[in-house]
């Protein structure tokens, strides 16, 4: 019990620590409002020319879908740059000599940061959606718990992928390109630009098997068009990918520590 308590306490402390950065959050919120506004202009135009429904989405659903996908993507921590820097500068030597699992310590720490961001992003998302296109049509409160579960799982998968990319710093001197590529993959194959339904058939099929879709696309799609089969399918993929990325992160971390060369002194 006590061995889990340390992670929960880290999470709590991290929340207090992140409340210090309230102004930082506000700046992000402004960006969020603006990006969805640009998407609104774009899609209003497209719907004006193509009709009421595109790939099964009404304009109302489309904007809510994009808002929720954006909300998930923005609710991430700085874990990549923090861990990469720690490894590159050798400071990791001072953080790994405590009786905890470093990977899960970072996870609890990040979750504190993410909790604060997610909360403000949820409020922002609700306000944006309501103002831009009104209440989400066909939404039932009873589906909310399932949607929340998939949103949280998406956030966790996102965390462990960033963690894994950050740990590459044990071997690579410069690893920022990896996160750039990853974030663009989530943006495209994760359906943040357009839903997967608008892809050509073959690309849609491939994307539905890749992890990127389960970070943003799947939870956002469930929120605007819920189905039990969709939920089960999403849950299976998410748990599978989460387990996979946790296992690989732990393994890579263990290997990395063995290869650790700390300079200086």
């Amino acid at each position: 019990m006590r061995s889990l308590n340390k992670y929960f306490y880290t999470f709590k402390i991290s929340i207090s620590n992140n409340l210090v950065y309230a102004w930082n959050l506000l700046a992000r919120t402004i960006f969020f409002v603006f990006i969805v506004f640009v998407m609104l202009l774009l899609w209003k135009n497209i719907y004006g020319q193509k009709g009421e429904i595109i790939a099964g989405f009404s304009l109302n659903q489309m904007i809510w879908y994009l808002t929720i996908a954006e909300m998930i993507s923005l609710s991430r921590s700085n874990i990549f740059s923090e861990v990469s820097e720690e490894v590159k500068k050798g400071n990791i030597a001072y953080t790994i000599n405590k009786p905890y699992s470093y990977v899960f310590y970072c996870f609890s720490n990040s979750m504190g940061e993410i909790a604060v961001r997610l909360l403000t992003n949820i409020i922002t998302a609700l306000v944006i959606g309501m103002i831009y296109v009104g209440p989400l049509t066909g939404f039932k409160v009873i589906h909310l718990p399932m949607v929340i579960i998939t949103v949280l799982l998406g956030i966790c998968i996102n965390f462990f992928i960033y963690m894994l990319l950050a740990l590459s710093a044990f071997w690579l001197e410069e690893n920022t390109a990896l996160t750039w590529i990853y974030s663009k993959l989530v943006f495209t194959l994760g359906g943040m630009l357009i839903p997967l339904e608008l892809f050509p058939d073959w690309l849609e099929k491939i994307s539905r098997h890749l992890p990127f879709a389960y970070v943003t696309y799947a939870p956002a799609k469930l929120a605007v068009a819920y189905s039990s089969s969709g939920f089960i399918n999403t849950l299976v993929y998410q748990l599978g990918y989460l387990g996979f990325f946790i296992a690989v992160s732990l393994l890579v971390f263990r290997r990395g520590v063995k290869a650790l060369n700390v300079n200086g002194g």
């Binding site: 306490y9 402390i13 620590n17 001072y94 405590k98 905890y100 200086g264």
Partner: protein, 332 residues
């Protein structure tokens, strides 16, 4: 009882090298070249329970690398380490419950939060009971005199205040061994003295084994019974501080400024510098009394300023080398 034993410890790093200029950069991209750097060479040492050991050497001598191997952060290239009966490289996590570390230049406290939050978190990380933790916090805040600092965000603390909190933080879980890596670096004289007193109290009251690295000769003189000096990754000297002081740290440098010009002629002193108003002399405290020298110097004229200092560690080490090579040639 031996609490730390190290036998024939070696650590070498592979460092990427690059020839100068753009041509060198391109070449390094195509066929990277490496050089082996041996940070620690064949070190063997033992530490007794409750001992306060100084591990000293100039920057880059291999002190931190050795500490990192002793705490399990780095894997030795070869050699054997036992700390509290464990092999740190294998049992890092198990060992971490019984050791504490303070790295002078690195903080383990949360920057934006008051120290008490970090203390509570560390208590959880070390799986302490809530009651035991609050008792321990109360005890440590008292001896470290940090009651007033507990609720101030760490970023607002001065370096001296922060270091006191750092050391207290590393002692929360009552470790058997504490590794202090340059705990007094960057501190002013008064705060340094305070930290030294605290370390002294600590070792006396709780029988904690202290492994201290420093390049400040003062730390060693006051705190430790035994010192190990390392340079270029090798042990240069391993002996009691008493002997070290007597044999190698007996030089004092006296800087003295007068209001008028004075002459040092006739005093049997080694004058390093003499500019009329200001004089710098070196005194060997093993064959003459500092007290007498200073009072003789005072008699020369009206003194404006006087400082007595230890020569830097680098000089002491070069003194040891000279001594050893002379000894080896059988001239001494």
């Amino acid at each position: 009882m031996k609490i730390i034993t190290v036998e024939n410890l070696n650590k070498s790093f592979r460092v990427k090298t690059k020839e100068q200029g753009l041509r060198g950069s391109l070449k390094a991209m195509l066929s990277p070249t490496y050089r082996e750097v041996q940070a620690v060479k064949d070190i063997s040492l033992e530490v007794d329970k409750g001992e306060v050991l100084a591990f000293i050497g100039p920057n880059g001598a291999g002190k931190s690398t050795t500490i990192k191997m002793l705490t399990g952060i780095l894997q030795p290239t070869s050699g054997d380490i036992r700390v509290l009966g464990l092999n740190p490289a294998i049992d890092r996590r198990k060992l971490s419950y019984s050791i504490g570390t303070v790295f002078g230049q690195k903080s383990q406290l949360w920057f934006h939060l008051p120290p008490i939050d970090s203390f509570n978190l560390l208590g959880r990380i070390y799986e302490m009971e809530t009651k035991a933790l609050s008792r321990r916090i109360a005890y440590l805040t008292e001896i470290f005199e940090i009651e007033e600092l507990l609720d101030i965000p760490v970023r607002k603390l001065s370096l001296g205040q922060r270091i006191r909190c750092e050391i207290a933080a590393s002692l929360l879980h009552s470790p058997e061994i504490v590794f202090l890596d340059e705990p007094t670096i960057g501190l002013d004289v008064v705060v340094k003295q305070k930290i030294r007193d605290l370390i002294k109290t600590l070792s006396k009251e709780s029988q904690t084994t202290i492994f201290l690295t420093s390049h400040d000769a003062g730390d060693i003189e006051q705190l430790c019974k035994r010192a190990i000096i390392i340079n270029h990754g090798q042990i240069v000297l391993n002996e009691s501080v008493k002997n070290l002081k007597y044999n190698y740290m007996n030089q004092k440098v006296i800087d003295i400024k007068y209001s008028d010009e004075v002459s040092v002629e006739g005093l049997a002193l080694k004058v390093l510098k003499s500019k009329g108003y200001a004089i710098k002399v070196e005194v060997d405290s093993s064959d003459c009394d500092i007290d007498t020298v200073v009072s003789n110097l005072m008699k020369l004229g009206k003194v404006v300023d006087i400082t007595i200092s230890d020569p830097p560690l680098e000089e002491i080490i070069s003194g040891i080398y000279q001594h050893n090579s002379i000894g080896g040639d059988g001239l001494a």
